[in-house]
Each structure stands twice: as C-alpha cells, then as structure tokens.
C-alpha cells in the first residue's frame, strides 16, 4: 500500500502532492479552529498512535497474519479532518525515518490513505451508523464496513496510480519507465490482497476496537456519533421517529438513483457474459460478442446447458421493460422502483421476525 520512490513518475508525484495540498490546508484550518492550543499535542499523539497501530500483528482466519493501517479507527475517533493530518504525519515519519513509502511518493500515499481513506471511512461510518445508539451493534457493523471500504478504496487508488504509469511514461522502444504493469494487471494484483487479507485485518481492528470502546470508553466515540446522543435521549421518551431523520440522506440518494436508472440506456450493446441463447444465432449480436471478447468468436450455437437452463425461469419484466409500457425510459424507472420496493419489503419482513428486534423490545 505504501508506494516507494521509483514506482511513480515525478509528474504523478507532483500532481498527487497538489491534490493532497488543499485537503491538508482545509483540515489544518478546521482542526486549529476546534482544538486551539490542543492541536499540537493531540495530533502528535494520534500520529504516534497511528504509527504504533501498524505494528500490531493480527492472526487472520486461514492461518495468516496481517496488520491494519487504522484509517477507519482514526476517522471514527478523531473525525476525518484530524485523522487526515495524523495519518499524514505518521506516513511522513515512516517515509523519512523508516523508509516505508517514498519521500517523493509521500503526496500519493497521503492522498490515497490519509485524505481519501479518512473521508471514505468517516462517510461510510456516518451513513451506516445513522442514528443508531452509541452502544448499538449497528455502530460496530458501521465501523467494520468503514475500515474495510476505506482500505479498499485507498488500494484501488494506489492500483490506478501505478496502473496508468506504463501508458503515460514509456520510452521510444516501448520500455515502461516507472511501474511496469498496466491497469488490467495492477488493479487485480492490488485488489485481491486488499479485498481479502488486508481488508479483513482493517475490518477486524476497526470493529473490534469500536466494540471495546463502546464497553470501556464510550466518550471517545462521540466525535463521530453526535446524533447517537440525541437518539438515546429521544429513545427514552419512546419516540422511535429518529429513523426518518437519520436515514433521510439514504432515502434521497435512493430516489435520485432510481430516477437516474434510464442512464443505463446510453450504454449500447449487451453486457459481456449476459448473453441469451438466441444471441448466438443473431449475426449482429455475434459480431458484438466477438468484438467484446478480444476477437474470439463465440460457438455457432448456444451451449446445450445454457439452452436448457434458460427455459426454467422466465422473468416477469424482461430487459427492464414491462410489455404494457410504451416508453423505455419510464419502463426503466418503473422496474427500478419495483426492484427497490421488493428489496425493502424483504428487509422489512426480516426486521419483523429478527431475534435482535425481539430482544430490544423486551428490554
């Protein structure tokens, strides 16, 4: 994850320093305003903590071990702006003193892990935790997701930065001058490790520490859960209406996404691997499949297994276009609403019969 010097071209390094700089500036201003004279000791200790956290080796399921970067934990305990600065300082010390990550590549490492990582972790935590009470298991799940998502987004950014090097920086003979692998190799190589082991380590640490803090030091979780305190007060009055306020952004986002579904019509052709049996005999479709499969032409007839299985289930709304609707755009929106409605109904039913809910009601 820590990109050493030599993998990125100096122009990429400069661009990523420039990308991180406004975030450093804004976060320093914001943190200074809220911490005043506490700024220096607070950030120093937190940077030291981020550094030491990476030394904790964690046994992972499957017999391997890994360590967390602590992006999620820092963002939850300190908020995204202070976390950004603390992790950047820890990365700087690692680069200069311990040679972990490059000095020229420091801007890139800070942008991926400290800046984007902190913002993603905090965003995911706030959205998933919503108005859940400070000691709720929902917050532990939110923390786990925050850590896992943040480390994977940071890894994806790292992979993209490494993966664009060969196409941008190559000499006349076609020799890659910096990181040698294109995106199609860099992205899977980076993501396989992070979606599994590194992501898992981050998930366990973030969730485990948040669960521990809930039991032992809940005041530390207040920065990232200001609404939780109100929620607990309101819950005491028997008003369970916090759900709407807490999840309002989610509902608005869901509605916007549903209305935007006709954008899918802009994509021409058929999705790779989602062919129907009749597509194998249609000449135009055959040409599309060949072009999308690296000039490998498909077999002349649909595989027998595909033909047999395809007839087992016929979708009620084929191709997101209900047969009774003339407008394709309206059909898309209707299909999205129908699908979202079904999913919500399923979760509502699960919620009704869930043992967790029964336990909460008894209490």
């Amino acid at each position: 994850m820590h990109i050493p010097d030599g993998y990125l071209s100096p122009t990429t390094c400069a661009a990523l320093y420039a990308a991180a700089a406004p975030f450093w500036y804004v976060s320093l201003k914001r943190v200074k305003r809220s911490l005043h004279t506490r700024l220096i000791p607070m950030l120093s200790l937190m940077a030291a903590f981020s550094f030491v956290l990476m030394m904790f080796n964690l046994p992972l399921p499957g017999g391997t071990t890994g360590h967390a970067v602590g992006i999620g934990l820092a963002a939850i305990a300190l908020g995204p702006w202070a976390a950004m600065l603390a992790i950047s300082v820890a990365l700087l010390i690692q680069a200069v003193f311990f040679g972990d990550g490059g000095v020229l590549a420091l801007g890139a490492n800070c942008f991926n892990m400290a800046v984007v990582g902190s913002l993603v972790a905090y965003g995911v935590y706030r959205v998933v935790a919503g108005g859940g009470a400070g000691a709720s298991s929902r917050r532990v799940v939110a923390a786990a997701l925050a850590g896992y998502t943040a480390i994977n987004v940071a890894a994806l950014l790292t992979a993209i930065e490494l993966g664009v090097q060969p196409s941008l920086f190559m000499d006349a003979s076609g020799t890659p001058l910096y990181a040698p692998y294109p995106l199609r190799i860099a992205v899977p190589a980076m993501m396989i490790g992070h979606l599994t082991f590194a992501g898992l380590a981050e998930l366990i640490v973030t969730a485990g520490v948040v669960a521990w803090l809930q039991r032992s030091d809940p005041s530390l979780l207040k920065d990232a859960a200001p609404r939780a305190i109100d929620a607990e007060k309101v819950a005491g009055d028997g008003a369970g209406r916090m759900g709407w306020r807490a999840t309002r952004p989610l509902w608005i986002g869901l509605t916007a996404l549903t209305l935007l579904t006709p954008l899918g019509l802009l994509a021409t052709g058929v999705a790779w691997g989602e062919w129907g049996p009749q597509d194998f005999t249609d000449q135009q479709m055959r040409r599309q499949i060949t072009a999308a499969s690296g000039d490998q032409s498909p077999p002349p007839y649909a595989p027998r297994g595909l033909e047999q299985l395809a007839s087992i289930w016929t979708a009620p709304i084929p191709d997101y276009a209900p047969p009774f609707l003339q407008s394709q755009i309206f059909g898309y929106v209707m299909s999205a609403m129908f699908g979202v409605g079904l999913i919500l109904l399923t979760f509502l039913l699960i919620g009704r019969v869930s043992p967790l809910r029964r336990k909460k009601n008894r209490r």
Binding site: P4, D5, G6, Y7, S9, P10, C13, T37, R38, L39, I40, P41, M42, L43, S44, L45, M46, A47, A48, F49, F51, V52, L53, M55, F56, N57, L58, P59, P61, L73, A77, V89, I93, A95, V96, F97, G99, G102, V103, L104, D171, S173, G174, T175, P176, L177, Y178, A179, P180, Y181, I185, I204, V205, G208, V209, A211, W212, L213, D217, L220
Partner: protein, 255 residues
C-alpha cells in the same frame, strides 16, 4: 528502537556528511533523489547510486549496514514485483524460458532494472540522511527550508511519543504473556489485539491531554518559535555547489 539508536551512533561519527550543514544535506540528497526519479536511462540512475555509495564510504557508513537496513528489503520487495515484468512486458523477445516457454523481452528486462535501480537509489539516499543526521537536526533543517513550523513541531513530538507508545504496547504484551500458560487461540488473540489497541488509543488521548496541560503550564499559547542556529560555512557552500552540479549533470544526461 534499535535502528534509531544505531542511527544516532552513526550520526555522531566524524565523516563527510556528518560535518555538513543539515540544510545542505537535506537539499542535496533531495536533489539527487529527484534527478534519479527524472532519469530515463539506467546508466544515469546507476551513476547517482554510485555517487551515493561514495558519499557513504566518505561518511564512514558501512555498506553492510546499508545492505542490511535498506537494500535487502527493497530488493526482496521490489524484485518480486519487478520480476514478472521481464515476461509480461511486450517487446522484442530475446529468448524463451526452457519448459515454460515464457518470452523474455529486452523492454521487460530494462523496465525491471530501472524500477529496482530507482528504488535502491532512493532507499540509499534516505538512509544516508538518517544515518548522518540526528532527527532533531533533520527537523530543524526542514524548518529552515520552509516547512511550516506547526508541522515541524508535530513531527518532533510524534517521533518522541512513538517510542513511549511502543514501550507501552510492549508492556501490555508482557503483562499478558507473564500471566498466561500456552498459546492463545486465533480468535482470542484477535480479541486481545483489538482491546490492546483500544487501551492504547485511550492512553494516547489521555497523554495528549496531559502533555497539553504541561505545555500550557509552561506558558504555551499556541505560538511556536524555533531557534535557527545554523550557519553556512565555506565547505557547506562547496558541498551545496557539488550536490547541485551533480544533480544537474544527472538530469541532463538522464533525459
């Protein structure tokens, strides 16, 4: 902790780099780093690497220490990343591996060599700075070169507290291990690690409050002043000119 003690010891030896003004060292070694990053030719990067080796020898920094602390790790990590590039980079095929029939291309070999050479040069240059300059002086040099004063103070404090927190973490493990017979199961070890991290987080915040109160009681009002006691001597100017000249030559020849 051992590394930093060794770095302090190396920085106190009489040698070329140790005698130079820290600002010159930081600027000069950074210039070398940039020139090796900009170079498109393997020969130029190897030239910068050679210059770094000569500097190490003149500064009584043993090559064995450089190999142990930097080269071996970098070679293992970057070597394993660079090796597949020899076969995967498209280009002129020189030969095919027997049995496996994988093509080895000129472009692949040069690309892997460029990557490894750049990484090794960068590692050597940053080790040279750390092994010839005590950390407080590196920070002062950063300040003198225009780094924001808040950043420099935070870096200094962070560095000190890393050791304190490392010692606290070690104590946590020792306390647990001294009360335990046999090994923990994986799930228990995970629980122990996460609760130790939680304890350490609470401790860090508590310490930051105490440090803050201690600073306030000694008159801290949020402003930081640093003493700039560096003075450039003739040999520092000569060294700066040499660093700049070599870096420009490297950038010129490496195009």
């Amino acid at each position: 902790m051992e590394h930093s003690a060794a770095a302090e010891a190396a920085a106190s030896k009489p040698g070329l780099l140790q005698r130079l003004d820290p600002r010159v060292k930081v600027a000069g070694l950074l210039g070398f780093l940039v020139s090796s990053a900009l170079a498109h030719r393997l020969s130029t990067i190897l030239g910068v690497f050679g210059a770094a080796l000569i500097l190490a020898l003149l500064s009584r920094i043993s090559l064995r220490r450089l190999a142990k602390r930097g080269w071996a790790g970098a070679l293992l990590f970057s070597g394993s990343i660079a090796l597949p590039a020899v076969f995967l980079t498209p280009g002129r095929i020189i030969f095919r591996l027997p049995f496996l029939d994988w093509p080895v291309t000129t472009q692949g070999i040069i690309s892997a060599a460029l990557l490894i050479a750049r990484v090794e040069t960068a590692v050597t240059l940053s080790l040279l700075l750390i092994l010839s300059t005590p950390w407080p002086l590196v920070l002062k040099a950063l300040r003198a070169l225009g780094a924001p004063v808040v950043l420099v103070v935070i870096l200094g404090m962070t560095y000190r507290y890393i050791f304190l927190l490392l010692a606290a973490a070690r104590d946590l493990f020792e306390a647990r291990q001294s009360r335990m017979v046999g090994a923990l199961k994986a799930a228990e070890a995970r629980r122990f690690a996460t609760s130790s991290i939680g304890v350490l987080l609470s401790k860090s915040l508590q310490l930051s409050n105490e440090a803050h109160l201690a600073m306030l009681s000694r008159g801290f009002r949020g402003e930081v002043y640093s003493l700039d006691e560096f003075a450039m001597r003739p040999r520092d100017w000569m060294a700066l000119a040499a660093f700049a000249g070599l870096a420009i030559v490297a950038i010129w020849t490496g195009r």
